[in-house]
Subunit: 335 residues, 2 copies
């Protein structure tokens, strides 16, 4: 056996695994390219059935302190967040549950309630699914919705000169995971904010739908694998670079990082498990984009600009620092 044949997935990481699969598939003409946040099928002229599937695995995606209700709700929300990033209304959720054979019936009830809550929070319904026996707790959601092809916010439309923006501040989930996993001290009010970010993630659906309806976004992605990684994904799909000159670090994260001797930028850029939208807007449409988001009670923050040069960099106090292509990755990352 040659070395190549014995390569294990832990060595190559999730993204190379997906690439390996991608290369083996016969793909049809698709309204949404393979590898974007969601998949789609054009069911009639201009109308796309949008589909998304994301698996939550107990041992890697459910930190200590997260209840089954919260874990199941999160499984729904992470799928809805991808719909938010594309500007598509979620309609129906299917759920495959993998449960260890000694899983408690009472906890099944918690899972069902969490799934239902996550879906209903965003106007969707859980309409079916399947259960199987598995070694881990697995909550695998599949989400369906309909979107107009022209309004889908793909990853691929960013152009040099576009404004890069986000829908919220970063670093709270990374700080929350440090509090939960490493038991680090945090002031009690700040701790509540961090734990809320980890345990009760929220999809920016209102914002995504408003931006899509306004037709102001050139490219969009959700930040589930971290801000840095999201920028690199937009870069890959749009073939542009980014200068971030206004890193959106949450104020609570700045204080927490100072107290514990962390680099706050590190938490904001590479933490992951955050569900903000990262998007680009043509300067001429910026005011319209800001108003659209404000009207639904959200906020849009300019963090930098899109460049022709394909580097991804941070500008801080006149210095230019490279942003690295890393973030949370299954098989490779360890908490």
């Amino acid at each position: 056996m040659d070395g190549l044949r014995l390569t294990i997935v832990a060595k190559i990481g999730e993204r190379k695994v997906i690439e390996t699969i991608f290369r083996r598939l016969s793909l049809p003409t698709m309204p949404i390219p393979f590898g974007d946040d969601v998949s789609g099928v054009e069911i009639r002229r201009g109308m796309v059935a949008v589909l998304k599937m994301d698996m939550l695995v107990g041992k890697t995606d459910v930190p200590p302190g997260m209840s089954f209700w919260q874990a199941a709700r999160k499984a729904a929300v992470i799928n809805i967040s991808d719909f938010a990033a594309k500007g598509v209304k979620p309609v129906a959720l299917l759920v495959s549950l993998g449960l260890p054979s000694d899983f408690l019936k009472a906890d099944v009830t918690q899972l069902a309630d969490g799934l239902n809550a996550g879906a209903r929070e965003y106007g969707a319904y859980v309409i079916g699914g399947d259960t199987s026996e598995a070694s881990d707790l697995i909550v695998n959601c599949s989400l369906f919705g309909l979107g107009k092809k022209t309004l889908l916010m793909l990853r691929s439309g960013a152009r040099p000169g576009d404004i890069v923006a986000v829908t919220g501040f970063f670093g709270k989930s990374a700080a929350g995971l440090k509090v939960l996993l490493e038991n680090l001290p945090a002031a009690s009010d700040v701790k509540g904010v961090f734990l809320d970010a980890v345990l009760m993630p929220r999809a920016r659906l209102k914002e995504g739908l408003a931006l899509s309806a306004a037709g102001v976004v050139s490219a969009s992605i959700d930040s589930s694998d971290g801000l840095a990684w999201s920028l690199y994904e937009l870069r890959k799909a749009s073939k542009v670079g980014f200068v971030v000159d206004n890193l959106p670090v949450a104020a609570e994260v700045l204080r927490f990082a100072k107290r514990n001797g962390f680099d706050a930028s590190e938490l904001a850029l590479y933490g992951g498990e955050e569900y903000e939208l990262v998007l680009t807007v043509k300067p001429a449409l910026w005011n319209k984009a800001v108003s659209a988001v404000k009207r639904v009670g959200g906020s849009l923050m300019r963090i930098g600009k899109t460049t022709k040069q394909t580097d991804v960099v941070l500008q801080v106090k006149g210095k230019t620092i490279p942003i690295e292509p890393r973030g949370w990755e299954h098989f490779k990352s360890r908490r």
Copy 2:
């Protein structure tokens, strides 16, 4: 803690787990009732987006002797079989893979090829998905298609006097699993038939689409949990009983059972992991149904009739024997 709260899923079985979940959900008005083979959303007048999700777990659904290619193909086919039973053309497949961290890259390629083969065999495409780290191999497929509401073959339309029919003979998968798991002897030609049934299951898609287009079926289900269980599911949804007077046991299974001292009826009724359609047809439409299936190269076999009395029984040599409500069930069943 009271006893009830500590009930584990292994004790109550898959069906009670699903019922537990069902009772906690806020369900919308649905074109396909919860618990049918597939789920659906009416996307415009008379047109239904059909969705199905079924999880294949390595340790329970992949017998020894089955390759990764075959396992992945099977994961696609078991979902397509449910579409076949409803008369819906499968269009797009999404796949969530759960892989142990030491899973080989070369085997990922096998999985991708198997998924692609399973989908393409029935005209569908794998268009996206997701991978995660898990303790077991998990291949969770989500299937999408479109169906006319009036042509969907639900479980609920069987009426007393309808003919009960199937698309093929039963017992080969059960015999195949005995050969694989218990290493029982079988003549080599017969062994090939059995192993093919287990390793290369086929969905009766042509048959299901033809029957749906002909508008001749009053109720339909696929037989993945076994013939007996399928009849009980039709019974529950249609509120009828069944008399089976022509048990469709495969000839190879009769010979194998005789040689090894098994009850062939047991294998045919309760084995499961078979993907025939079990359906009901009004007597006046029977000839039309048979022709429709014959035209696509399949065959339809009358096995009995639907009764007002809600018992499910087998009539053999003038004797009436109850058919039991059992079959393969996750959490409870053990191979």
